[in-house]
Symmetry: D2
Subunit: 366 residues, 4 copies
């Protein structure tokens, strides 16, 4: 259980890191959405490793196959199954690790949860590879959000403690997509890169923070009291392996402000009511305000490192050391960017369908 | 929609701030749990205002009434409806505010969401008062967790930027319950109190951070990939009005560590495998590790302040100022402590039922 | 679990036959629906016993109390909690029955399910009294369906094997509401009444069949493949204690026809496509066709009878006899009519919200 | 939406009749279940056409492929995706039918529901072919039920109005599996076969009734008030295209009995309490009684017939005739038998997991 996200736009994940495939079934996608495999592929490609010499050498071709729910180039309203096949899979390494659980991984807890029947190869169901499914669903969600001209864009705001300078939305959109780390501040990006390379050389890893912004979300979207936009987005962010924190708007720093500083004053601009600041991150009372939705996810340093780490030899129940060989990113932040965008897009699509902003048959010109 | 939390232990909230009552229906509570109104009342009393001269003068008697699902002092397995009546309700103030939305509130977005039909009195469904229902459900959940000797305890770790010193679990349990701010560091508590009083005098407010710890949660509880413990707890935390951030274990600070620092090494202690540190906050791969579950919620400064704030006069669509009179806490952190515990307890109860650790009929001696 | 029906218009039932109250929480009702307690009361009154000398002497005043979700005479979009208090409750009889389970009741299976903790008084959660909650939710749903001029009307088509003659829709609407048995065929009603009285005199009971018709449901409502209109309506019908069969359109008799007889031919009438017959009961492929939706529920003879019945003395594990004293309807068919209408209305409301035919804020003139 | 069945054992269907594949994702299957493709294939083969000269000439090889969730021959607890590829697909015929909707099909309602974007080829999502997915999920569920020695067996009790004589359980198990029509009464089967052949020759079709029996279901399984066993099974049965009625135990005929006849008397047999009759069909108060669960589904005559039928030419909006050429079963009852078993098995698996009778990790000897 727990493989499904969303109520009206429902994403069900399946597949394992070293099984046959990784996939997703999306229920509730409205009929009439123009959809081609290349719309999905483009987003999958952004998640691909090996783009910047920083990430795992695993070569995942990751060609999406749309298995159902699309006909004559449009979604039909039926469930859309999409998958990528697992190809470059070497599993021998993982057999060895079974008896020496890697710190920071679910190597110890997963067998307890599943009575030892879990597919442990490449972390199986707990692998970051599962997020390929999120990206396929997210690409679909983004296509849908495009109907309302909603754009969801994430960028790297921190790596290894190095923070990017604040940029405005236009700069973020412009710079982040071209930066190898997805960072809108080129200077910071260079220093981040250095920090990542140094960690890699030490057989170590670093983490960071990703910010995601959604613009043009109409006001009044979301549901009190439990299905708040914050709650649903946060839940989705924590599905990304390595996420350990989520904040909206001023977040933690807002809790150090006075109310008079943190509250966003309203004013009339061009005949419309806007907030002069956006400490709320575009969400008040769990509902969108019409301002950009802004959230940040903290990503821990990659758990897989080649440095020897203290662990336990399960067969002998004594302390030992483990090194994670194989191919691993010293920093997963850049590759997580399209994943963060994807889960945010999925939640927004779900809520916009619930709210009636997206109808169950799109009005399109064919 | 969005009024229900949980899959197998399901909490449905109802009621408004100034309506007849605030209540909750809990489905899926196992049969055979000893339950008396005083078990619920004790927790409700912790949420009560007016305990420390800091909080709203509104006198809420808040006597719980168990409406269903309990028979002869035990839960029956049927849905448990509990409610408190709204008594000390003065609504005249709110009429005035309708035309001048308060910054930091849903005054503007709620009418958009509900076409102006929402009960705006006292923020209606968006009021912190709704959390009385969370506390009733949480008290029930805690009673259930007690069967496994799981304890859930929250405490104040930061107010107005003043941080409490790190304390061990025993000190937290001991100190926090006696401190008027629920802080385990008495020195910090005094300074926090000063900051709160000063903000109150200025007609302003402050925020803070609450940490919640759950001990004795067995390993392997939680569900990949979406219903992770982090995801489900975070979603529940964001249901508490004013929460704008959530983190687990080392959280944001962990994202600034190296992998070799942030990973928790395993070792054998007394024949059992334990982690030497707990940067994971007791959760790896979305599953409990057996270590204490540690999460933190950032609470924004109370939105309602008496200082004049810039807003818009909706009838004339021009800028104006609004002051929030009435009774409001200059800092809601202390009162939010039992609420945080409650939602964490609800999520744990839900997952422990899913995992079979709590069966649907309790084995009890009658 | 299992106390909730519907996905977007969600009805959660609570309460027991001899507890404090019977109630319901309805989530997802659109904002802006005119609603007064009398709208609910009118339907509750139809369910009341004692109207025709046939039903249980239990005097249930059953005054609905709307606890939440309505403000200034309109629904707010927040969950609507409604309840009736249990008043005329005599429980002594039921203590005796505990050791001698009544045939046809859940007296034996419920304690197994709930480890003996279930509230057995008056069948507790398994009592027909729970359907008062269904009727409150159904009254709300009907009010909502009224926005689309959808009418849901049920009538008695069979009692004790006596079948009513086929009537057209106008006659059914006209006659059934005035008939003490809710039967549109006055001649059959007289004979049914005789059969019921005779059964009562013998300390026995009879069953029957209720037909429910919904007109003006727009075509294309419903969802393949599992949430078909038939499936969702049938599930809801089986929630009514005593229902043991459900059929749509030609139902069982249709399975004895040829395809050429059972298929409903299409034709053009006044520029619109209609079906010349309605063997499909207004549903094809799980979707509404635009023709009247027609379903029938078979209600078993009341399980509680005063005639001695063979059962087992649980304390001595030997065969014995049990007589059900107390107040019981010799035929529950007439009282079940508004309940059948209610659950059908709830399902239709749910699907019409899903399909966008009913929006989440109603467009009303205030 | 509506493509998912079950709460804890959740089946999500995808695929279309003439798309790439038909498949299913099963979430919540416990870890540790021995599973090979042949376990699924065996059931799929039972659903295959062409076994008795009666069914459609479409040659569906239907080799199941398990895409995920199984490792080293055991289920892992992760979602299990299974699919069959669509091969023998000829779609030209269907283009013609678009403008002349076939009576008894969703040809008219589906385009309304989906704005004309639905994949109409071979009825697309409304095709009986979708039930291949149900059978794959059902085969898995049966394997799971086998852990508790629960057997689910369906058989033909009526075709074209010809009823099979009542047989005991042993005879049903013995005879039905060998009979070409799945009927346990060989004499009736011969007459049914004649009726089917005659209908086929006339370009017509016939329907029938399937009975499904589940033995060894422990007592107390099911959930009041909405998730009754009857309700959940009925809902699942109506997902099978062509089902128009469902009944349990004495069903419709029970509504014509007296209470004293229909109630099943309890007695002690070999130290256990049993019911002397089973008019309840093994379910009281929505819970299993421990007696065999007995339900029946009425299947309408195949809607596709080659006889000319009255319909409307949509392009000219005038009456015309349509003949369904192509390959169609004159009676789908025999092929529906494994489908009926499958959906009943899925519901039972779901409820047995909910009730804790099946744990989330199976205790197996490896």
């Amino acid at each position: 259980m727990g493989d499904t996200l969303g109520r009206m736009f429902r994403v069900t994940s399946f597949g394992e890191s070293h099984g046959r495939c990784v996939g997703v079934v999306v229920e509730g996608c409205p009929a009439g959405l123009r959809l081609q495999e290349q719309d999905i592929q483009r987003e999958l490609d952004r998640r691909k490793p090996g783009k910047n010499n920083l990430s795992t050498g695993r070569v995942e071709e990751d060609r999406v196959e749309i298995m159902s729910g699309v006909f004559n180039g449009y979604t039909t309203g039926a469930p859309i199954c999409m998958l990528v096949w697992n190809k470059d899979v070497g599993s021998t390494e993982y057999e060895r690790i079974r008896s020496t659980p890697r710190p920071g991984h679910a190597d110890l807890t997963a067998p307890i949860r599943y009575g030892g029947f879990n597919d442990y190869r490449g972390s199986g169901r707990f692998s970051g590879r599962i997020t390929a499914g999120f990206v396929m669903a997210g690409a679909l969600a983004k296509q849908l959000l495009g109907q309302l001209e909603i754009v969801v864009a994430a960028h790297t705001v921190e790596v290894a403690g190095i923070r990017a300078r604040k940029r405005n939305l236009a700069e973020i959109m412009e710079n982040a997509s071209r930066d190898p780390l997805g960072c809108a501040d080129p200077d910071a990006s260079v220093r981040m890169m250095v920090a990542i390379r140094r960690a890699a050389q030490e057989g170590d890893s670093v983490g960071g923070v990703i910010e995601c912004i959604a613009v043009n979300v109409p006001p009044g979207v979301g549901d009190p009291v439990f299905d708040t936009l914050e709650g649903d987005i946060a839940k989705a962010l924590f599905a990304i392996p390595g996420t350990k924190a989520a904040e909206f708007g001023s977040g933690f720093s807002g809790s150090r402000m006075k109310g008079s500083e943190n509250n966003d004053p309203f004013t009339v601009m061009n005949g419309k009511i806007v907030a002069q600041t956006n400490n709320a991150g575009g969400i008040l009372g769990g509902l969108s305000t019409g301002m950009p939705i802004v959230c940040r996810a903290a990503v821990k340093p990659t758990a897989s490192i080649s440095k020897p780490q203290k662990t336990v030899d399960l067969s002998e129940m004594k302390d030992t050391y483990v090194e994670t060989r194989g191919r691993h990113d010293p920093c997963i932040v850049p590759r997580a960017i399209p994943v963060v965008e994807s889960v945010v897009a999925v939640i927004l699509a779900d809520h916009l369908i619930r709210s009636g902003h997206i109808e169950r048959v799109l009005k399109v010109n064919r």
